[in-house]
Symmetry: C2
């Protein structure tokens, strides 16, 4: 199956599920509900839920878009957390990004106060949605895993270090920490949620978790490289934003060539972690997709 | 038992539990963990967890501070959500409060970006803590109840309408909505969580939920009245803040005397809802405590 077709078919059922979970935009207070929907339906790539679908479908050994219903709460939860984090990251006191995917960011469109609340509400919704999982033991395990992935030891920790490092000289270990936590934690959660729902063995879950962490780090390094040498089209945003924000990047710390080599090594390692697994074709496409972004 | 003694003994075990749930302030990233602890341990009255304890101890018919261990996850979750909401409410783009309980508010002390993350992290921690409840069916029911109480149909909805109403003429129904949702939702959740853990009958849970909503609305009206005629000592903050923020208050909309009468009626109704319940002494003290704040 072509990766494009896989993304498209899985995105479609995800969009429907997200639409059904979110309150309609005319429900009171409508500006808040509009802001939530604006951020969720703004052309995101749905990378986390689709990595989650792909991991589960690899484990269960079949690809059938009609059999994914029980996966929808966790898939939506991942996207809701991601959207919440982007809204708060874009705020003036954090990254001060006035655009996101070529559109005004949430606080520009709806005001800062409503954007803060929309982020809080999406974060809360993510967990509420997980209570929809029918098997209560699985539901609780998913909630525990996701809240830990979001926590100060996960995504929020990475974001906090990113904030505290702005306009400061940091070393490569700190930057690695930021990328692994800020981006890696949620990708790791995506594959680990699939493992919980499939009831995979512990060692499979650990291997796939490391695969996702590696993939996330590679993705961020490629993003750093594109921020330096890429175009608006490839990056989906104005390049050079990091240096304008005085943010450290892999190229600024270890140079462009070493950055490329590091990304290539991570992608090779990712590939090796899953190359012997059955039905791994879509996960391998994830590795290739990032490799192809490398200039 | 004196209400003061009840508050003190229950607060003590709550503080210990909160301390054990939060990462130490020297754990990386330490500024984030410090900000979370600063906001949690800043002399809050612990109204929500103590209302929760009191409801459970009324239902079970005994007061024994040594038997509250199984209640600690939900008690802490309530306080964590409350602290998260205060941090975000105080932000410059929302209420712009530079002080909270006579101390610099979180964003003044730690910067706006860290304060936003600290609020997100406390909100997430609240749910993570609920996964500690041993009975998984009860745990999941508590998570569902609390996330709905926080949602756009609860606390966040109230806060959003409050934000959107600033500097606008609103009517008494909108102000009532704001108070019921912003303050009432979490108080209602406090008593309903006690009902879930005790496994109370539906009608008891509904009555107690309405009791808490009434109590919350009365509390807010008294706060509005004190903001007009109170002192720093009674209010715990500079009076007149609402009018400085061009916020509607009960006295500004229906006058001081009618506001007082409305609060008294709500407190009388609250009392009537629980007067025939056994072991209701601490809940009645809650009603009296608010009555005594009335000037």
């Amino acid at each position: 199956m072509l990766i494009q077709e896989y993304f498209q078919t899985r995105s479609e059922i995800l969009e429907k599920a997200l639409d059904s979970y979110l309150a309609p935009s005319d429900e009171y207070p409508s500006q808040l509900h509009e802001a939530m929907r604006y951020s969720i339906f703004s052309g995101g790539k749905r990378l986390r839920p689709i990595l989650f679908f792909a991991t589960y479908e690899m484990l269960i050994g079949r690809k059938n878009v009609n059999r994914l219903e029980r996966l929808l709460p966790a898939a939506c939860a991942l996207e809701l957390v991601h959207a919440a984090s982007l809204i708060h990251d874009d705020l003036p006191s954090i990254d001060n990004s006035s655009e996101r995917r070529g559109m005004p960011s949430c606080h520009v469109k709806f005001g800062e106060a409503t954007a803060i609340m929309a982020g809080d509400a999406l974060l809360t919704k993510a967990i509420e949605v997980l209570t929809d999982i029918k098997n209560i033991k699985v539901a609780l395990a998913c909630i525990q895993l996701l809240t830990r992935a979001i926590s100060t030891r996960g995504m929020i920790g990475g974001q906090a270090v990113d904030i505290l490092s702005a306009k400061k000289k940091i070393n490569i270990n700190t930057l690695r920490y930021i990328h692994l936590k800020k981006t890696g934690s949620l990708l790791q959660a995506a594959v680990e949620l699939a493992c919980i729902i499939y009831d995979a063995e512990e060692n499979v879950s650990i291997t796939l978790g490391n695969f996702a962490l590696n993939l996330g780090l590679a993705y961020q390094i490629v993003d750093d490289i594109l921020d330096e040498v890429g175009s608006f089209e490839v990056l989906g945003k104005e390049p050079g934003e990091d240096s304008r924000n005085y943010k450290a990047t892999y190229p600024s710390l270890i140079g462009l060539e070493t950055s490329k080599k590091t990304a290539e090594k991570l992608l090779r390692d990712s590939y090796n972690m899953i190359k012997n697994m059955k039905n791994n074709d879509i996960l391998i496409e994830f590795v290739n997709m990032i490799k192809e972004r490398l200039p």
